[in-house]
Structures are given as C-alpha cells and as structure tokens.
Amino acid sequence: MEAKELAAAKTTIQRFFATVFADEISAELYQAMKSDQFLMDLEAVSQKFYSKELAHGAMVLFEFMDRAGVDTYPQLRYAYADLFLNAGNNPVLPYESFYADREPITHGESLFLMRETLRKYGLHKDPNYWEPEDHIAVEFDFLSEMNRREASGDRAAGQARADFGKQHMAWRTEFCAVLHSADKSGFYQALAELTLGYLFVAHLSSVPPEEVAPQQPGADLIELARALKGTGPGVKSASAGEGIVSAQAGRRRPATFQDDPNPLLRLWRAVWNNGKS
C-alpha cells in the first residue's frame, strides 16, 4: 500500500469528520448516510476491519442509521442545538482552548497557535464559518488538507500532518468522550465512537506495521474511506480555505487606556502579534 493511497483515504475520512462536526447534519448528508448503498457499505466494512474499535464505531453508526425513521432527522437537529449551540444543559465545547486551559472560554492560546499553523501552510478559516480556528472541525479540515497535499506528493505536508496529529490528538479523543457522554440522541454517540476508532487506527498506521501486526491499520482506513466516500462531503471543506487571508486590522484603542499589567495577557498579545506578522 502506498503512502499516497493512505493519505488520500485519510483526506476523505477527516473531511467527513470535519463536516459532521462543523455544523448540524444537512438534509443532503443525512439522506446520503441513510442511503441503502452507504448502509450496505458501512455494515460490510464493519465486518472487515481489523480494529475492533473501528468496527464497533462503524457498527454503532450503521445500527443507528439503519434504525432511523422519518422522525429521526429533526431529532438530530435538536441534538445538535443542545450539544453545540448551547440550547441544552450539557453542551459539548468543541474548542481546543477549552481542553488545553480547562476553562469554558474560547480564544485561548490554542486558537492563536492554530491561526499561526494555518497561515504557515497557506490556509485560512473560511470567513463565513463563524466558529474559532481551534474548533474540532477546523482541525480535522486542516489535517484533511495536509493529507490531500501528501497524497499529491508533498512530503513536507505529510510530516506537518503527522506532527499536528500527534500534538492535537489528546483533546480530540477527550472531545469524543465528552460528546459520547453528553449525547442523548445516539447519533453523536455513534459519531464519537467512530471518531475514536479512527483516531486509534490512524495512530496505529503511524507506527511500523510489524509492531501492530496482525492489525492492518492502513487497510482499515482505506476501507473506511471507501464507505464514507458515499456520503459526499469529501469534496468541499466546510470550514477552511486555501490562501492566507490578512488578519483583521487591529482596532485602535483610545489613548487613555492603561497598559495591562497581566504578564500572561502580554504573552498572548505577543503570540497574537507574531501571528499577524
């Protein structure tokens, strides 16, 4: 199996996760996930996976979608509002800042580091996507783009993807655990299980094959990508775009403001200024 083939598979998988976490499930995506073909593929691959975790995740998602009736789609919209739009009492906070700082405040240092990373690779967050850059969907989108570049022969992008993936693994797994415990619809629990399964297998795929035998993580990922391709979202990023967009021009503060004495905030300001330069 070629590295490029594996990267292409990961592109598809990560874009799928970016899409399902970027916004509520669109009617089109829901229909695609409810289609006979997708369900057949998903059930089939869940029997084939070497990884029990991935097999379980795929099977849970299959079972949910297979059971889904005419009333299910509105329920997913309600669940999304509860979990991600703060309509419910136990929201999932999909920002790395939250997991890094352990405070329910966005725009922590993780956000500025993510902006810096995007700029470094000639990317920007789609201005029409109103979540901050350290949102789980943007991070999956970034990884997807790095994999796409790797699949096109850009070896540096492969390294960037590997480094980023490792550094940002812990919070994504915790996010999945939090999502699993908070969701009452079953749908996001299934997505959380599939995402966790993927993260585990993706990790296995980064170590020498002999160390993980008889597991074949590359084969698992290619199978998963094949199944997910039927859902369609691999085509377009929901949250990221190519090219660097200039940072918003700094707004002048009145000359009468005092300087902030907080050294931590000065550090953040330095990070922010570096990001802009």
């Binding site: 703060n86 939250f98 329910p104 405040i105 009145p254 009468t256 005092q258």
Partner: protein, 668 residues
Amino acid sequence: MVSCSGLHGDIKGGGRICPKGSANRAHVYSAYRLKSPLIRENGRFRKASWDEALDKVIEGLKAITPQKIGYMRGNDWANWVHEALFDHLGYPKTTHRPMCDNANRMANEHNLNDKRPWINYQEADYIVHFGMNELATSYGSRKTAQLRAALDRGAKLVIFDPRRSETAAAATEWIPIKPSTDAAVAMAMCYVIVKNGLHDKAFVTDWSNGFDEFKKRLMGEEDGIARTPQWASKISGVPAETIERIALEFAKAKAKGAISWTGLAQVPNGMYATAAVQALNALCGTFDAPGGPSLPFKRKLSPAWGKGQEKPPKGDAPKLDKFSMWAGWAPALLLEDVEAGKLEAMICYYGDPVLSWGNQAAITQAIEKMKFKVCIDAFMCNTATLCDVVLPDSTWLEQSQVKPDWLYEAQISYWAEVVEPQYDSKPMYWITLELAKRMGLGHYFPWNHIDEAFENQLKGLPCTLAQLKENGFAVTDEAEYYKYKKWGSLNPPDGYGSSGTTKTGKYNFVNPVALEKGVDPLPDHHDGPTDLQPDATYPFLFGNFRIFHHEHSSTFNNYQLMKRVGSNPLWINKMDAHDLGVEEGDRVRLKSPWDEIEMVALPTWNIMPGTLGSGGGFGHIRGLEGDPKFPQFGGSNPPGIQKPNTTEDMGGTPLLKYIKCRVERLSG
C-alpha cells in the same frame, strides 16, 4: 481582545474598572454564547437562519393584536432605535426600571430632579447610607474609590442595613435595622434636626416646598404621634439614643449627605422611605454642597433622525397596570396580566424575567401561557428556554453607541465595538432594522450605518463622533457647587436632561405628584401589608442582595466571575442557625407561604437576627450553572418564592427584599 481596563479621565470609572468589566473577555468569549438563531419545535430547539427566524417572528407577531404584545428591554443599548419601532407598533413596554427602583423614583424624580443624586464622597466628612451597598453597586468605580479614600482620611460612614455588607464592613458604624423600617429612622433623624433647630433655614426657605407640612408630620401635629427616636426605635429595632446621636452628628457635620437605593425600593414602603432619606439632605441644604449629593445633569442628544428623515410616530400602547403613583407594565404582575388577556405575546430583549420578575413559578406559567414569545439574548437564559424563537444578541463589546452620562461632571461616552459580533450574533440595532424592513417600515430607519445616526445625535453638541472614537468620551460640563443657584431651579436648563423633574423647581417635602394623585404626599413610615409581615409560622424576612462580581442575572456564564462567586448560600444569623440546628453547609428548605426552595446554609454574624439573605441572579438551568461538567457552580433564586402578582403599591416594584419565610433543616 485580550483584556479590559479602565479609561483614564472617564468620569465614572476614572481609570478604574470593576470585576465585571475586567472579566469581560470571559463574557464575550464565554463558551456558552448563543451562536445562531434557534426555533422551538416539539419542545426542542433547532438551528435556524436569520431569515427564517425573523420571518417566524413577524408571522408570530402579526397573528396577535399589537396592544397585547409586550416588549421588554432589559438594558438601554441603542434603545432609541428599538423603542422607536415598538412604540410605533403600539406594544406595551417595560424595562429594568419597574423591577428595580421605581418606588425610589416615585420620590426622587418628583421631589428633586433625578433618581440618584450621588454623594460627592471626595469632599464628604459624614455619609449616611440606608440599605445600600455602595462598594458593590454599579455606576463606575471612581465613586467607590472616592468613598474608600474618604474613609481613609477619616470621614464617617454610617450604614443602616439588616446586613453587614462590604460597605457596612468598611464603615465607621454598621447599624442593623429591620427591613422596610428605614423611613422611621430617617423621619426620627429629621425630627431631631428640626426639633433642635439645626436645619438649614436659608435652603429650606428659598429652595424647598412644603416644609411646614413636613414639620407638622414630624412633630405629630396631624395625628398626635411625634416621629421621635423612641417611636422609630420601636419600629426599626435601632436604639433611640443611636438615632438621636446620628441625627445630631449628621446635622453638625460640615460636608455631608444621605442616600439610599434599591434596599429601600424593593420593600413595601419604598417611596416614603426614600423621601424621608432625601428629606435629611433637604433639611441640611446639602444638595450640590461640598461633600453633598450632587444634582444630576447630562447633555441631551439630538434625534438620531436627521434632516429629511422621519421618526416613526408613536402608536397607542396601553399602560397595563396602574399604581398609586405610576402606570405601565409592572413585570411582577405578568401572570395577572396574561390571565386577564392583556398580554398574549412577548419580545424579551436582554433580561431573564423568570429569574428576576417575581414569583418564579408564576412568571414561568405566564410565559408558557402566552401564545408567542421571542427572546433576544447572548446566552440561553431561563426565559429563552420557554420561547418560540431565540435570537443571539451581541454583547456590549461587539456593538457601539453614543451615550450622555453623568457623575458629578457630565460627559458624552462612546461605547466602541471592540470586536466583531461573535458567531452569528447580531446587535439589537441590526435586528430592529431587519424587523422593520419585514414589516414595511424600513423607510423609518434610513441609516446605512449606525454611525450616521450617531452623527445626527451629536449635532449641536460640543464634540464630534471622530473625537469620541479617538478619546472614548468627551467631558462636556465640569462639576460645580450649587448648580441650582445658577440654573434658578433644581431642574437642569434646556439642552440638559435628568431622570426626574421637580414641578416647583425646589426640593419638595410635599410630593406634588402624590398630591395630584390623592396619595399621602409626605414622607413617613408605613407598615407593610399584614399578609406580607412576618408571623409565628414565617418568622424571618428574606432579602436578596447584589454581589460585586455579578450583574443581575447576566454574568453567570462568565467563568472568571463564577470562579470568584459561583453560588449563593443562604445567609442566616448564627444565633438563628443555632436555634434551628443548622450548621454551615447544611441543606435547608426556605419556605414562604407561597413557595419553597432548597439552599445551602451559611450561618454568619453579618446579618441581623430574624433576617435572611442571599446574592441575587443565580438559578440558571443552562450555561455554567446548569452544566454538569462544572458541579461547583450553581445557586438558586430565592426571591422566586415571593407572593405571586405582588408589588409595592406606588411604583409597582417587586418585593425582592421583603419575603416572609421560615427555614427547615434538610440534611447535614
């Protein structure tokens, strides 16, 4: 945005900032912000586009008679624009005012020129506060810094309060007083001053109205009951000697002032108590004197509608509730108004009626009974959970406004949009224009950008928008002593505004509006209604209080602030707690004749026996208080157990600080 700090030279902050202001980054960037319009379906919420949500709002409103659609604005941000629309439509309106200090205003806004003539602490040497925790109140940190400085240089501060608040703890004397008996003490102080001939005869003669009638009341010439310290002591629990001593000290002090706020407004006798406190100032001629209460004045803005632009004409909005001194929509009577068919729908902008309007179950029931409800808020407040459409509001650092303001000096402030509205939130200005367009009223709101309206508002004023943007504010008028002598009236001259007007141009011991309305126009003590007074079954009086780290019910998703104060235990005097077998941390049931709530007890010496208290604003079922990931945060809404559909009878203010109840220990 990485931090918030004070603005040097600003008349209210003076370069300082309160905890709410300094923690604003955690407010704007709270992870609990509402991000998108939401529409309720089958008892659940789903995401909606602005177009869909606004169309749904229009559809819902069109189905209901305009005079039965209540419009509530909890703050005055860009109020000139949304008031213009909803006034035009004829929707009855309510604001923060009738749930805050309307009783207070019924005195001060008719007896002098404004609701709150703040004391010039910088020069005061004797200060008396009644039921007011100045160090924890809003309205800028410059004033409180000056109060602390006054204490440091030896000024005397006397606090009458059932609770040893932060200010009482810093004061020279804390004098515990039974709730809603402040009028008795203030009247007795007036009695001592007049009896001893210590009043300022020149001021009383030249600048007051009705002194003779007031004197008769004090001396008991009307009813045979002189308002002596002994009389007041029986009512208030304050020793007569203390009342007499404080009165004499106050009268003989050189630079002095007395003031009250909601502590006296959210109890049964608010108007009369406030009038009695201000009568102390009037007797001593302290208005605009060095160290005395400063008469408020601020520049009036020009209309936002410029040449060739037409402001929508006012519609015919009914006044839903009538009180002895005031008519309007009293929030505490919501259930009564809904059940009487006066209200069928509500647009609630910034505020959480469920947690702040009165009996929680009654307010909840009223909202549930209404046919259509819209909430505009930055967070999923309790009221929002009951609404059909929820629109995400921008916070105050995501929108701009021009506003005249006052604290000793007058200034025009510019509130800048520091960051763009987060997520898909929108400011009320934008929401109003979009609603107007959909109603075919877009021509009344002709600006391409809000700055055009600001430019109009600043016409004829001594500063430009560019100057305001550059500096953040423009001081238009310096502080002055005895402004009223220059004005020839206690009311400010043309071109200036204040929240009230004295019809005589003088201080009114006899409230002229009360006189017109056939209400007793003189200050006095009146007992609360019998059914609200403590009794053998419900021996305590509960009152909520302001917490320095929170602002009403709006700051409870701010992690920085919640880390400082994340719950609201029940303050109970240690002796009362001992008698009930209650210890710190015990769960207790706070029970009134009308409802009950569970709380955690905090026995303390800082509240007088027979009274109970807790911080206000808690009890959210969403956000940080509701989130099981943060079990350390969360409180309750004890004022929610007050009698339903009940207010004081002058201004319709809910009785948040006068709820009879008992305490039952549940567990250790």
